[in-house]
Structures are given as structure tokens and as C-alpha cells.
């Protein structure tokens, strides 16, 4: 399945609205960031829900299983979802 065929950009975690959930498909950040995200449980195949977003482009609160995490939009954009 080639997403580019439909000319839609690949969706990332930063695109989700509060209450929406998705499955992680890949990580595109540099290796240090990827390592950190994976050890926090953000790895392909995991389901993730956006709980809330703070105002003025601040961090996003996400829920992974039983853990809640804060992530800035900048890093959320490196996490591909479907």
C-alpha cells in the first residue's frame, strides 16, 4: 500500500485530535530519539490515543496502554501512524 499514490502525506502522531487513536507504523527520527521513544513504549504495532493537546502548540498528552506521556509536536511528527 503506497500512500503517496493518493497524494496524501503520511499521517503522524501530531495530526491526531484529542480522543482519536491510531496504530504506530514507524519512527523517522534520528537514532537517539528513536531509542528513547521505543524504551517509552512508542514502537510499531502499539496503539496510541491522544488524550489532550495543550494550547499554543505545546505538548501533546498521549496514552499507551497504562502509561500517559507528554510529547512535543516536533517529536510527535516523527511518529508515523495509521
Amino acid at each position: 500500500m503506497d500512500m503517496r499514490a493518493h497524494d496524501t502525506p503520511v499521517a503522524t502522531l501530531a495530526d491526531l485530535l484529542p480522543g482519536q487513536h491510531a496504530t504506530i507504523t514507524g519512527l523517522s527520527g534520528e537514532s537517539e530519539l528513536r531509542t528513547r521513544l521505543q524504551s517509552l513504549g512508542l514502537r510499531p504495532g502499539r496503539r496510541v490515543t491522544v488524550v489532550r493537546r495543550s494550547r499554543f502548540g505545546g505538548p501533546i498528552q498521549i496514552r499507551l496502554g497504562t502509561s500517559d506521556l507528554l510529547i512535543r509536536p516536533q517529536q510527535a511528527r516523527t511518529i508515523f501512524i495509521k
Binding site: 537517539e32 530519539l33 531509542t35 528513547r36 521513544l37 521505543q38 524504551s39 517509552l40 513504549g41 514502537r43 488524550v51 489532550r52 495543550s54 494550547r55 499554543f56 502548540g57 505545546g58 505538548p59 498528552q61 496514552r63 499507551l64 496502554g65 497504562t66 502509561s67 500517559d68 506521556l69 507528554l70 510529547i71 512535543r72 516536533q74 517529536q75
Partner: protein, 595 residues
């Protein structure tokens, strides 16, 4: 002596467990190649003394964060008999990863499932026996906070130590490649042993967060919470500090003074005004430090600190800081010393140093005394509050400017990835232990430096010995004369420069010093000052006092916390430069405008 290393992810209650296991006997130890403080304690397990070392919380043994390097270095350099790995039982889906990574090192291990009470409340069921079987190591469920399962944990550790082979350092390099296979194993073990209900979140936390992180109410509530904490610490702290000062004065006049009357006047003055006042300066910080950390324990352990980061991050991230830095900056408005110590919650060194660089600009209560005096002595009653308010603006301005200027130099790669733990209330025991430990740490690390500084200023203001104390003829006066060409363009004269030298020790003494220098009582000081300087000079002086080095104790703590003389030099030098430039621009600008 056998050695046990305690490991775990952040927010697993690792320190709570360590405190439970070791009591208050823990000490900060020095280890070769390790740059952060590690607590360790010697305790009796079974029939032998064992050293327990609390390693920093890490997410990944192979990670790149500073704490992860520290833990790795420790395990590679120090022979360890047993690894005790502590996990948050509600998050085994990802926490087991660290346990598996550590197991790959091949050292004996005990696994603790902490917060088992929370896991049960959430309906999470863990098949402990099966887990122990799958992992091939003892597994004990505990609640470190409430002391549940501590005896079993103790026994399991003693037993494992008893069976342990000779200790050895770990070969971590070798295990890097195995990480991907580990994930598959984790998933298999997790699904075989842990049963999590579909919706396992803390309802109360969700409800509280809906209010405390509300898009509109969140920030106002945050400021109310900060104000409340600030008021609590400093309104409770002020009478305690007064009490300490009162007691010191009693001891001084009642016991020390009579004891030294037979000695030569210079020695008397040295003991009373040098040594004794130096010790007094150190003691006066203790009530504030204890109170501050009692309340910090609440803010931190309750999980509200991460919420503050959520609320303030959009703004602070532009300055290269995060929301936790803002909390510390605000607390600095009471006293910079505990606020600097509180930055230890930030685990990234760059972020921490940047925060420590901006905290000293917070207009603390000691500086406030000086400003209240000058504004009432020099300005009309209607203007005084505005003048004071403008100084607060300068305080924030200097801090934010500094953050923007230095965020690249003290760059930190660490992205904000914080856990948002459920709301918890710390036990009184945890709070006291925290306050107590911080006080002893401060006494050990900072007191020598503070005493040295106070004695140095005593020497500067009392020698040569035939001239009046703190007069222009003393060493301090001569030093001030040396600085005169630098200070004159700021409208700050020779005598006021001597007061600034005093102010380096503590801002509380600036007024007393001015009184001594002008040779008047403190009650007549206002009249003298207003007759000798105009408002432009006074404001320039206040700007300088606001921005330059807050006090010796702050410097001592900057050194204690950064462990770097280079950083401490920067944290003294940069504010001095900034203070000079700001006062210069203000004074010359005002004169140029004909004021």
C-alpha cells in the same frame, strides 16, 4: 563487602524503595568516572554488611541520556554482586524491557514489582510465579510507599546474595545486538503473565486532569498553586528564620561575647563578626531549605510537576527551557538557594545548567528588603510601588534574555518526553526524609565556602587595623577605589561600591553595611541616603543589586550542584557584566535625557 546495585526506570518509586531499605543512613558517594551524585548505604542483610547503591533511573541500558551513561559506566567499572531491578507493576508492558536488558548481562538479579497496590486497584493481575519461572529469577511484589512486601524483598535479596558468584563488572557492549530479539521475548512473557483490563486508568486522575489541565482554567490554577506554595514556604519560613536569628543573637550576646572579652579586640571582632556571623548565615538558610523541600516533595511526588510542564511548555520551550524550569524560577523569588537545589528534577545536564543560570535573576526576598528601603527613602509614595514592579519586570527580562542567549551554548539534545503519572500523595516520611537529606547535603557541600567568604569580607573590611571599619581606608575601600572608574559611569559612588562588595556575601547586609559606611544608625540611613543620591542613581544602584551575584550562598550552591568551577565562573561573570551594561544604559540614558 558485597555490593547491590538498585536499578529501574524513572517514576518506579526506586528512591522510595531505597529509603525504605536503608533508612536515613544513605550517603552521597564518589565513584570514579561518575559525575552525578549517587546515594549509597551500608545495611545488614542476614549476617553480613552489604553496600546498596541507588543508580539513576534509566529507560534503556543502551540509551544516550546522561543518566543512562552514568548507570552504564557504573556497571562496567564496578564489580556488583546482585542487581535489584524495580518496576512499576502497572506498566510492565514496557518496564520489563529494562529487566530483560539487564538480565542479558548475566549477573544475578531480583525483580521487584512495586506499586502492586495501584496495580490491584486498576484490576491488573500478574502471575508472579509464572513470571519468576519465565525470567528465571526471584520476583517479589511490593509497595515501597506503604512498606508492603518489604520483608519478602529483603529475604529474596539476602538469599540471592548468598548464592551469588564472585562479583564482576558488566560487559554491556556485548549485549547491544540483542535488543530486537528481546522485544519479542518481552511480548511473549507479558501476555503470558499479566492480565490488564481494557480500560486501566485511574479515574480520579482523569477527573482531576480535566480540571487542572483545562484549556482555560489550567494556567490560572497553576499560578494559584504556585502562589499557594510560595506563600506557604515563605510565610512559614520567615518566622522560623527570625527565630533562628533571635536564637543566634542570644547565643552571641549571652555566651560567645562574654567568653571572648578577655581577648584582643581584633580577635573578638573576628570571632563575633567573622566566624559567628558566617555560621549564622549558613544556619539562616536551613528552615527555608527544609520547608521548600517538604513542599517540593508534594509538587513532585504528586505528579503535578509534569502537569506544570504541560501547561508552560509552549512558552518555555521557545527559551530552550521547559515548564519545570519555570516552577523553579518562580520559587527563586523567595530564595534562590533551594530553587537551585530543586533543579535536580531535570535529568538533562544542559537543561539543568541553563535553568541554574536564570534562577539567580529571580528577585529574592533578601533583595526585596534593599529595594523596599530605597524606594521608600527616595521615591514619592505614589511612585514607589511602580518602581518595585518595574524591578520585577527587569528580573524576568534578565532571566529570559539570558535563556535566549545561552540556550545554544548549553544546548541539550533531550526532547521533552515526560511521563504523566497518576496523582499520588507522598507520605510524611518521604517528605521529611527529603528535607532532612537536602539540609545535610547543603551543610556538607556549601557551608565551608560560605564561611570562607564571610571571613574574607571581614578581613577586607577590618584591615589595616588602625582605620575605622569599612571606611575608604580599609582593604575593601581600596578595592572599591580600584573599581571606581568602572562604577562611576553607573552613578554608583565609592561608598556605595563598598556596600556592593558586602552585598556579595548576602543582600541582607547591604543596608547594615551602608549604615556602617555612612557612620549612622539604620534609622537615620533613609535621610542620609536621600540627601546624598538622587533617584536616577538610586535606581541604577537597585538595577545593579538586582542583577549581579545574589549572594555567596547562591554561588556555593551553584558550585555544589553543577560540580563545575567553569560553570560557576560563568554564573558569576555573566550577571556582573549584564548588571553593568543595564545600569550603564539606564544611568547614561537618563542623564542624557536630562533627568
Amino acid at each position: 563487602m558485597k555490593r547491590v546495585a538498585l536499578l529501574g526506570m524513572p517514576n518506579t518509586g526506586k528512591s522510595t524503595f531505597f529509603n525504605r531499605l536503608t533508612g536515613a543512613s544513605a550517603k552521597v558517594g564518589n565513584w570514579p568516572g561518575i559525575t552525578v551524585d549517587l546515594l549509597s548505604a551500608r545495611i545488614l542483610l542476614g549476617t553480613e554488611m552489604v553496600e546498596v547503591v541507588d543508580l539513576p533511573g534509566i529507560y534503556n541500558l543502551h540509551g544516550f541520556a546522561e543518566d543512562e551513561r552514568v548507570a552504564r559506566t557504573f556497571l562496567e567499572e564496578q564489580p556488583v554482586d546482585l542487581l535489584v531491578v524495580i518496576t512499576n507493576a502497572t506498566q510492565l508492558d514496557r518496564q520489563l524491557a529494562l529487566a530483560l536488558q539487564l538480565q542479558a548481562l548475566g549477573q544475578p538479579m531480583v525483580l521487584l514489582l512495586n506499586m502492586i497496590d495501584e496495580a490491584r486497584t486498576l484490576g491488573i493481575h500478574i502471575d508472579q510465579q509464572r513470571l519468576a519461572q519465565e525470567l528465571g529469577m526471584p520476583v517479589v511484589a511490593i509497595s515501597a510507599k506503604h512498606g508492603m512486601g518489604m520483608e519478602q524483598a529483603r529475604q529474596a535479596i539476602t538469599q540471592a546474595l548468598h548464592e551469588a558468584h564472585p562479583p564482576r563488572a558488566a560487559d554491556i557492549e556485548r549485549t547491544f545486538a540483542e535488543d530486537s530479539a528481546l522485544q519479542t521475548r518481552l511480548d511473549a512473557i507479558f501476555s503470558a503473565t499479566v492480565d490488564v483490563p481494557v480500560s486501566a486508568t485511574d479515574r480520579l486522575t482523569d477527573r482531576l486532569d480535566r480540571l487542572l489541565l483545562h484549556p482555560w482554567l489550567g494556567l490560572p490554577l497553576f499560578f494559584v498553586a504556585m502562589l499557594g506554595m510560595f506563600e506557604a514556604v515563605y510565610t512559614l519560613g520567615a518566622p522560623l528564620q527570625d527565630g533562628v536569628a533571635w536564637m543566634l543573637e542570644r547565643v552571641k550576646t549571652g555566651a560567645v561575647s562574654p567568653a571572648v572579652t578577655a581577648w584582643p579586640p581584633l580577635v573578638q571582632s573576628f570571632v563575633l563578626d567573622g566566624l559567628f556571623d558566617g555560621i549564622g548565615t549558613i544556619l539562616s538558610f536551613l528552615p527555608i531549605i527544609v520547608l521548600f523541600f517538604l513542599f517540593m516533595a508534594i509538587i513532585e511526588d504528586s505528579g503535578y510537576m509534569s502537569r506544570a510542564a504541560f501547561l508552560m511548555d509552549a512558552f518555555m520551550s521557545r527559551l530552550g527551557l521547559d515548564g519545570r524550569a519555570f516552577v523553579m524560577q518562580l520559587m527563586g523569588f523567595g530564595c534562590n538557594v533551594p530553587a537551585l537545589m530543586g533543579t535536580r528534577v531535570m535529568r538533562s545536564r544542559g537543561l539543568r545548567l541553563l535553568t541554574m543560570l536564570i534562577i539567580p535573576f529571580s528577585l529574592c526576598s533578601a533583595r526585596l528588603q534593599v529595594f523596599v528601603f530605597f524606594t521608600t527613602a527616595i521615591f514619592e509614595p505614589w511612585a514607589a510601588p511602580l518602581v518595585l514592579f518595574s524591578l520585577y519586570l527587569f528580573s524576568f527580562g534578565a532571566a529570559f534574555l539570558t535563556a535566549v542567549l545561552y540556550r545554544r551554548r548549553l544546548a541539550h539534545a533531550e526532547p521533552l518526553l515526560l511521563e504523566l503519572p497518576p496523582y499520588r500523595f507522598p507520605t510524611l516520611r518521604q517528605m521529611w526524609l527529603r528535607g532532612w537529606r537536602e539540609v545535610t547535603h547543603f551543610l556538607r557541600e556549601a557551608s565551608g565556602f560560605i564561611l570562607f567568604g564571610v571571613v574574607l569580607v571581614w578581613i577586607l573590611t577590618h584591615f589595616p587595623k588602625d582605620v575605622p571599619v569599612a571606611s575608604p581606608e580599609t582593604l575593601a575601600g581600596q578595592l572599591a577605589a580600584l573599581f571606581e572608574p568602572l562604577m562611576q559611569p553607573l552613578g554608583i559612588d565609592h561608598l556605595m561600591t563598598i556596600a556592593l562588595l558586602f552585598g556579595f556575601v548576602a543582600k541582607e547586609v547591604v543596608l547594615g553595611a551602608l549604615a556602617v559606611i555612612y557612620g549612622v544608625g539604620e534609622s537615620e540611613l533613609a535621610g542620609i541616603v536621600s540627601s546624598r543620591i538622587d533617584w536616577v542613581q538610586a535606581y541604577s544602584f537597585m538595577l545593579f543589586v538586582l542583577i549581579y551575584t545574589p549572594c555567596l550562598s547562591t554561588v556555593a550552591v551553584l558550585k555544589q550542584e553543577s560540580k563545575s568551577w567553569r560553570f560557576t565562573a560563568l554564573a558569576i561573570g555573566w550577571p556582573l557584566l549584564l548588571a553593568w551594561v543595564v545600569s550603564f544604559v539606564f544611568y547614561q540614558g537618563a542623564r542624557w535625557l536630562g533627568l
